[in-house]
């Protein structure tokens, strides 16, 4: 990592704001570059310390989704603790891409770790996840055929070029041809989200079941981009014992993953929630900006960098940076409760009586 002479004043601007807890970055148009080996050692020390000294447990359980974050976490845990201390758990359901379980197994085998596969579709059916979600869709699209049509929900694309607010639309690609699309009303969105979130909460149940049986901890896979913007399920994939990736922006996850040799099939996958039959990317579903630009803007926002300066640095219009900043603040403030303990009166100034 290095900066060109012309970037020196940027270096001064940025390094003054570098936080203690984040990795040292160089912020320029080429992305948020980190020293991969140094960062690896730091995270591995963290994992080892937390598992053995803090929790006093025997290893880690990692939910392997077939995505880059869980693959990276597994690599780091193996590097920190050794393969015998890491259990991978693959938890596919009806709407998961078939590639997910396949790639997750490939990663587990490449690392030489034990792994289990637990199909969660039956329990989701019993709870009524698919039925509840599909009932909402049929109200909006009466001809919807859940066995053949592919549905998803998504936000308006291209945040930087549009003032469009975060309003979800239902999109159904019909097996017989054509596409149905409509904006979701609040009650409809809440019903669909509540049903879908059961999937991640069910995965949490299984991960803790394995972990507790083995006296291990559950490793979290939420990265900083997701943590900051609230892109995880409360008490779902957000319910874990450690979050070793939470200080890394998504593009930094990719950097480390390449450094540690995550399998190629996972490295080249487009990030996706992998929970909608219609197939939707993380960008389409939530972030509305490609990850490389998103992370640069989010980093700038978190460091309090001026929008005019950032627009010059990233060759964007000021209004585009302002749109991104507004969206970041909105998502961050809406999801405050995902990053906090539940509010209570339990503090030194609020004794009862």
């Amino acid at each position: 990592m290095g900066l060109a002479a012309g970037d020196v004043w940027w270096c001064v601007l940025v390094t003054a704001e570098v936080r203690e807890e984040g990795p040292e970055v160089s912020f320029d148009v080429h992305g948020l570059n980190i020293d991969a080996e140094s960062e690896t050692e730091k995270i591995c020390s963290f994992i080892e310390r937390e598992v053995y000294a803090h929790y006093k447990r025997k290893g880690v359980v990692v939910g392997l989704s077939g995505g880059i974050d869980s693959a990276l976490l597994a690599c780091l845990c193996v590097r920190a603790l050794g393969p015998s201390k890491v259990l991978g758990v693959i938890l596919p359901e009806r709407d998961s891409s078939p590639d997910s379980a396949k790639f997750a197994a490939e990663q587990a085998e490449a690392l030489g770790i034990q792994y289990e596969t637990v199909e969660i579709t039956p329990i989701l059916e019993v709870i009524g996840v698919y039925e509840r979600r599909n009932a909402v869709i049929r109200e909006l699209c009466p001809d919807f055929d859940p066995g053949a049509d592919r549905m998803k929900i998504a936000l308006p694309p291209d945040l930087l070029h549009s003032d469009a607010l975060n309003v979800f639309s239902l999109i159904v690609d019909r097996a017989v041809g054509g596409r149905f699309s409509c904006r979701l009303k609040p009650a409809e969105l809440h019903e669909i989200a509540a049903a879908q979130n059961i999937k991640q909460r069910t995965r949490m149940i299984h991960l803790y079941s394995f972990a507790e049986r083995m006296h291990r901890i559950v490793g979290g896979t939420t990265n900083r981009t997701e943590m900051d913007q609230g892109f995880f399920v409360k008490h779902g994939d957000g319910a874990v014992d450690i979050e070793p990736l939470a200080h890394l922006y998504k593009t930094q996850v990719f950097q480390l993953a390449r450094h540690l040799g995550v399998v190629e099939n996972i490295l080249k996958r487009t990030p996706s929630p992998d929970t909608w039959p219609g197939g939707v990317t993380d960008e389409e579903f939530y972030f509305r900006i490609p990850f490389d630009t998103l992370d640069q803007l989010l980093y700038a926002f978190n460091e309090g960098l001026d929008t005019i300066d950032v627009s010059k640095m990233l060759d964007l219009e000021v209004v585009q940076v302002e749109r991104a900043y507004r969206d970041f603040q909105l998502k961050k403030s809406t999801t405050w409760h995902l990053r906090s303990l539940p509010p209570s009166l339990l503090d030194s100034d609020s004794e009862a009586g």
Partner: protein, 87 residues
Amino acid sequence: MANVRETLRSFVLESFPASSIVSRFDDRTSFLDTGIIDSTGVLELVSFLEEQFDITVEDSELVPENLDSIDNLVRYLGTKNVPHASP
């Protein structure tokens, strides 16, 4: 017909209680900047507009310029020919 501005104010105060504790809430106050309305609140606001004023809010109209304050809403409703929606 009830004044459109009053109808909007009542809806915002009832549906988004944060508006009553913001230090200065007036017709120019940005809902999004002050946190009165969050991401899902926008959906509620749009549903209210469509039902209360019998209009269709097009996808292209879901922008802060139309929705992000009482003043903006009144101006927007005027463009949708809602009676008594005068600034």
